[in-house]
Symmetry: C2
Subunit: 123 residues, 2 copies
């Protein structure tokens, strides 16, 4: 379960739309190159810590705990900017990623291309 | 409920890890500038159509139906590439976005910055 009594700014907490588990998906992007590094999940306390410590912090759904990215791997994410989407149910976290973002050692987690049989025309 | 009897390639369907509602989050990125445009959701049939028609197609959780981005607004997304993440539970869809991605008229849905009180150091 997400953290009880989170410290998140009440003005942000009031806007945030969480899933039934109290979580919001966070798209993580390298701030300068624009690479999408990973998709992670935040509860209110993870968002609070991400906004106030400068280190990207997520909620691990498999372990059921908060998780400072890089705390074991050293592959920290230094937070540059955070924004909320129009529906207040998704976050975009721009970071400076130290080393690979993916636990496999790849730079980004999105390293498995799927074949497309129709290439979209360019507008 | 997601589409019954989807046409998705069985090899992809076997890899995909869906949430309890049968959905996978899809990060949508402008292919050339790297802007993150929106976060949407796909069921198997939406992913099949995205991979085979060249037009980004999602599953609308509020309406409970498939939704071709731009079908009413004209703000289509021409699909350039699709990839699956390391855990097979998130998608990255690179598109060429016609006009604004957001229903508010903003270019991207992530147009609400949240204040950070500690700026991450650059590695």
């Amino acid at each position: 379960m997400p953290t009880a009594r989170p410290n998140l700014d009440p003005a942000i907490a009031a806007r945030l739309k969480r899933d039934p588990n109290g979580l919001v998906p966070a798209v993580v992007q390298q701030y300068d190159t624009g690479e999408v590094l990973m998709l992670a999940w935040m509860d209110d306390e993870a968002l609070h810590r991400t906004l106030t410590t400068g280190r990207a912090t997520y909620y691990s759904r498999s372990r059921g705990t908060l998780w400072v990215k890089g705390e074991t791997s050293g592959h920290h994410q230094y937070v540059k900017a955070v924004s909320l989407d129009c529906d207040a149910d998704a976050l975009l976290v721009k970071v400076d990623q130290v080393g690979p973002a993916c636990h496999t050692g790849e730079r980004t987690c999105f390293h498995n291309p799927l074949a497309t049989t129709a290439q979209g025309e360019t507008s």
